[in-house]
């Protein structure tokens, strides 16, 4: 029941927040939302700490729609726990950081939607049934769509929301065909079941397996996003609030890479191996292309989104080199990218609130006025570029190891991504923060207690896991080891 509780808590909380009395800007819904998200964090921590490696600790399974073979089946293994923890940590941070983002609008709606996103994301990461996974995966689009379209800050937020939704729906519907296909093959062999554990035993012909793989992969590649499915990303991050972007990029987009690990590798190992050359190439293109785009970008929020394109390239690369280092590095990368990018997005949001423009060419000179803010931005940037001592370094290193083990030229190309990361981070930092002080910054004050307190836990985690990565890897490795061995065994069949 623990996992059901974990999902129900923010969902019920969202309902409560949505129907609280009060006018726009009132503090009550914010405190309520923060309290709910902290309670969820507590439940998530219990789930994470007390979870055994096998993932059986909190497993639950109830028949749901029998004619379809769908179950309400939840469980978390090392991979799931990592994503659940990332989600429950980031949501309170985002709520605290977005405190005043919806003061002039429907405040209750804004925070309620955030809690809905949290509930659905947690359901996605706990689902052990493909049908349930698909339902909640698609359902995340609706709150995300309204968060972008109703509460975005950019001038083109409506168009960005529609573009986001259509991309995701297109991917999701292609996946629907594959999900229905799984049902047809499962029913062919006897009683239909959507449980991942049952689907692992399906016998599929090579062609069937490849078609299903493509259906799943396209949806995940759009979600993740990797080249050439990434074009929704800059519009979305450029127009959403930074808090929404954190939820979208750091939490929801992880569903893409999570799905590749959980479904593509475990259910279609043969097809995954077959697709490796193409996927690795796309990942490498994403790494380099995303970095180059970020290097030339003027809008700080769009830039942060584009750095994620490069990072998702790394994650997908780690997944599809199909060895222990790569896969466990990719999983750890998913967590660290969440932390570092969240710091960067939120600090960028603070900065933009002060300068009044997201454009780097019109910023500059904040360092003297707001030294703490400058330091936060630098920390986020250093995390993003993988500085040793911060946790992203460890995961990037593992992925690189995996890439070199896969093939030396793959590793070589990927290294260029790290060099470019240093370039785009430092360029952005120089333009945004350093330089002579501008007159427009006259009344600007440094970040307040709330703003620092929101980011501080993330920075602390980055440092902690940077020096003691074993804390996370001991949870991740058993699960990814299982994924890799399942995948290898399946591919040899």
């Amino acid at each position: 029941m623990m996992l059901s509780l974990l999902i129900a808590l923010p969902l019920v909380g969202a309902l409560v927040v949505a129907f609280l009395p009060g006018r726009p800007g009132d503090a009550l819904p914010k405190w309520a939302a923060l309290a709910v998200s902290l309670a969820t964090l507590a439940v998530g921590a219990v789930v994470g700490i007390a979870n055994a490696d096998t993932g059986k600790t909190w497993a639950e399974d109830h028949a749901w729609i029998q004619p379809i073979g769908a179950h309400w089946a939840l469980a978390v293994d090392g991979l799931g726990v990592t994503m659940v923890l990332l989600t429950v940590i980031l949501v309170p941070v985002v709520i605290a950081a977005s405190w005043h983002d919806a003061d002039t609008r429907n405040t209750r709606g804004f925070f309620a939607l955030m809690l809905v996103v949290e509930a659905l994301a947690l359901a996605v990461f706990c689902a052990q049934d493909v049908f349930l996974f698909y339902l909640v995966f698609e359902a995340t689009l609706i709150p995300a769509y309204f968060l972008i379209g109703s509460f975005g800050q950019g001038p083109a937020r409506t168009a960005a929301a529609v573009k986001f939704l259509l991309y995701m729906l297109a991917g999701g519907l292609v996946m629907l065909a594959a999900v229905v296909g799984l049902y047809a093959f499962s029913a062919r062999e006897g009683a239909a079941s959507y449980l991942i554990s049952d689907l692992g035993h399906l016998t599929l012909s090579t062609n069937e397996e490849r078609l299903l793989f493509v259906g799943f992969f396209v949806a995940f590649a759009i979600k993740a996003p990797i080249f050439p499915f990434h074009t929704w990303l800059p519009d979305t991050t450029g127009n959403a609030t930074p808090g929404t972007s954190v939820l979208l990029i750091c939490v929801l987009d992880k569903i893409g890479t999570y799905g590749m690990l959980r479904f593509c590798l475990e259910l279609f190992p043969g097809a995954s191996e077959w697709a490796t050359p193409v996927v690795v190439t796309l990942a490498l293109i994403s790494i380099v292309y995303g970095a180059l785009l970020a290097l030339g970008q003027d809008d700080l929020l769009v830039l942060t989104g584009l750095t994620s394109l490069s990072h998702f390239g790394f994650i997908v690369l780690g997944v599809f080199v199909l060895n222990d280092q790569g896969v466990s590095g990719a999983t750890f990368y998913m967590f660290n990218h969440g932390l570092a990018t969240a710091v960067l997005f939120i600090a960028a949001g603070y900065l933009i609130k002060r300068t009044g423009t997201p454009l780097l060419s019109r910023m500059g000179g904040v360092a003297k006025k707001a030294p703490v803010l400058a330091a936060l931005l630098l920390l986020g940037g250093l995390g993003t570029l993988g500085l040793p001592g911060l946790s992203p370094f460890v995961s990037e290193f593992l992925v690189m190891l995996g890439a070199f083990r896969h093939h030396w030229w793959v590793g070589t190309i990927a290294v260029s991504g790290i060099v470019l990361a240093a370039a785009y981070v430092l360029r952005a930092y120089r333009l945004a923060v350093t330089g002579p002080e501008r007159e427009s910054l006259a009344g600007v004050r440094d970040v307040g207690v709330r703003e620092v307190a929101a980011i501080a836990p993330l920075v602390a985690l980055m440092l902690l896991l940077g020096f003691v990565p074993q804390l996370a890897l001991s949870v991740i490795n058993p699960a990814t080891g299982h994924t890799v061995s399942t995948s290898e065994a399946g591919a040899q069949k």
Binding site: L166, L169, L176, Y183
Partner: protein, 528 residues
């Protein structure tokens, strides 16, 4: 010497159908003898009571169906082979009666337009004349619409259960003629309404001609009009299929016209837009239910042996219907018209479900009949609900479907915008709504029949279709309200109840579809 056998009609099985037709006749008598002031109340109560009793009777009949032939089919062929009362038939009856019941509630709504119904006060008074103005001043209204609706419902019930080609034809006419009339009876925008009725009638009559010609050809081939006999003839006379194939083609034209499949879809948008919205709601949901069940019965019982001649054609028709419906819907600027095109796209999805007909299935795998029946349930409710909401948004000239006017509706009326969004999301097929489950089920059926290319095309069309549903949501939520936009009228309990029931059904069928899916599976196969 030939002796006369009195025909065995099986009153115990077909009495709900006879009750509806009988009540329709009583309704006409009411029209003639009851004072004007009392007619509205009498007719509404009579109609609702009839539909309620018929619904109860259908459930009673359904529980008493015998198992036949050891297979999955239950029921009996009665009325000397003309009517088959089996699982799918009673399922369709139940659904049709529910749809009709909710439809009557919409018909009877008088709060929205200042105390009169959505129907013309006196159809014979020409639009724009003094006569019409006088009718308006006296507050007259047509209460014949209720018996007309009952006749249409009777035709639909018979259509879904017709077991020979002649009954099929008669049922088609019985259901169509009242609908032609109802289409022309709008109180507002009467010329548009009458034009729609004219188009519907001419094209409908034309397609009936095709159907009749097809019946003649199939009779020429098989020597019988009964579905079972046709199936035997196909099994026993190999070769010489010219007559049969031509007959199947012409029959298909007639049936595909009724469901609004491409290339026979041209009437749909005009008729849906011109007809009074309660009629559109009832017609869109009801006709499709009846016609698809009739089509499934014809194709699987009579023409099942000839599967490989009609299946490829249906593949193409399903594909074209989805694509053309979705593409044209994108270009619409009127909500009602957009819903009409979307109903064409949905016809394509149901046809996708039919593609699984006759496939070899695993244990408990979802088959074509189950898939189509379930889809019709979801489609019936969400369509009815969407059109019902449409009646609420009004300006000085009546209902306002102009998309521009819907801008910012969420700010003026969050509840209406929220409910309409629910129906739109369901029509688009997003998770946790009925539309998603329905889509899933028809796709599963088509996959089972090996039609995965059509499924892939269908999901891509769904993505395109999502665009125009979402566009309305964008308008309602993200746009600034238009200064002279329409207002949202406050309905009476009748429309509110309809909207509430359909909205709840839309959510329930999305979250816990299991019981209804089981019910559709329990309906089993068609009997011969």
């Amino acid at each position: 010497m030939t002796t006369f056998h009195s025909p065995h009609l099986g009153y115990d099985l077909i009495w709900p159908l006879l009750l509806v037709l009988g009540a329709a006749c009583v309704g006409i008598v009411v029209e003639a003898f009851v004072p004007r002031a009392w007619r509205y109340l009498t007719q509404v109560l009579l109609t609702l009571a009839t539909l309620g009793i018929a619904f109860g009777g259908t459930i009673y009949v359904a529980t008493g169906l015998d198992a036949r032939g050891g297979g999955a089919a239950r029921g009996s062929v009665v009325a000397e082979g003309a009517v088959a009362v089996d699982g799918p038939a009673v399922f369709a009856w139940g659904l049709l009666l529910l749809v009709a019941f909710l439809g009557v509630l919409l018909f009877a709504e008088r709060h929205l337009d200042g105390g009169v119904s959505a129907f013309a006060g006196q159809a014979a008074a020409l639009p724009g004349t003094d006569a019409e103005r006088r009718v308006g001043e006296r507050g007259l209204e047509h209460t014949e619409v209720y018996p007309l609706l009952l006749f249409a419902v009777g035709g639909m019930l018979l259509f879904a259960a017709a077991n020979d080609l002649l009954t099929l034809f008669v049922a088609l006419e019985v259901l169509s003629l009242p609908l032609y009339l109802l289409t022309g009876l709008a109180r507002r925008r009467r010329l548009l309404s009458q034009e729609a009725a004219m188009k519907y009638f001419l094209l409908g009559a034309f397609s009936s001609g095709f159907l009749l010609y097809g019946i003649a050809l199939v009779y020429g081939y098989a020597g019988t009009v009964q579905f079972g006999g046709i199936a035997d003839a196909i099994a026993n006379t190999p070769g010489q299929r010219g007559l049969l194939l031509a007959g199947i083609g012409l029959l298909s034209v007639g049936l595909l016209f009724k469901v609004g499949a491409v290339p026979f879809q041209a009437w749909t948008p005009d008729v849906y837009q011109g007809a009074p919205t309660p009629v559109t709601a009832f017609m869109a949901a009801g006709t499709k239910v009846a016609a698809f069940v009739a089509m499934l019965r014809l194709f699987s019982v009579a023409l099942g042996g000839e599967r490989w001649s009609w299946l490829p054609v249906l593949w193409a028709v399903a594909l074209l219907t989805m694509v053309i419906g979705a593409v044209l819907a994108v270009a619409q600027s009127d909500v009602k018209r957009m819903l009409a095109y979307s109903s064409i796209a949905h016809t394509g999805f149901v046809l996708t479900g039919i593609l699984g007909a006759g496939a070899a299935l695993g244990k408990d795998q979802i088959g074509a009949t189950q898939a189509v029946l379930f889809y019709l349930v979801t489609y019936g409710f969400m369509t009815l609900g969407a059109f019902a909401v449409l009646t609420l948004v009004r300006d000085a000239a009546g209902e306002s479907g102009e998309m521009r006017g819907w801008a910012g509706l969420a700010r003026r009326s969050p509840l209406v915008a929220g409910v309409f969004s629910l129906f739109l999301l369901s029509l688009a097929g997003l998770p946790f709504t009925a539309g998603f489950t329905g889509k899933w089920v028809v796709f599963a059926s088509a996959m089972g029949g090996g039609a995965w290319p059509v499924v892939v095309a269908a999901v891509l069309t769904s993505a395109m279709a999502a665009f125009f549903y979402i566009r309305v949501i964008v308008l309602m939520y993200f746009s600034e309200p238009a200064a002279d936009g329409p207002t949202v009228a406050v309905p009476s309990i009748l429309t509110s109840a309809t909207i509430a029931v359909t909205a709840v059904a839309t959510v329930v069928l999305g979250v816990v579809p299991g019981p209804v899916l089981d019910l559709a599976a329990h309906a089993g196969d068609f009997i011969r």
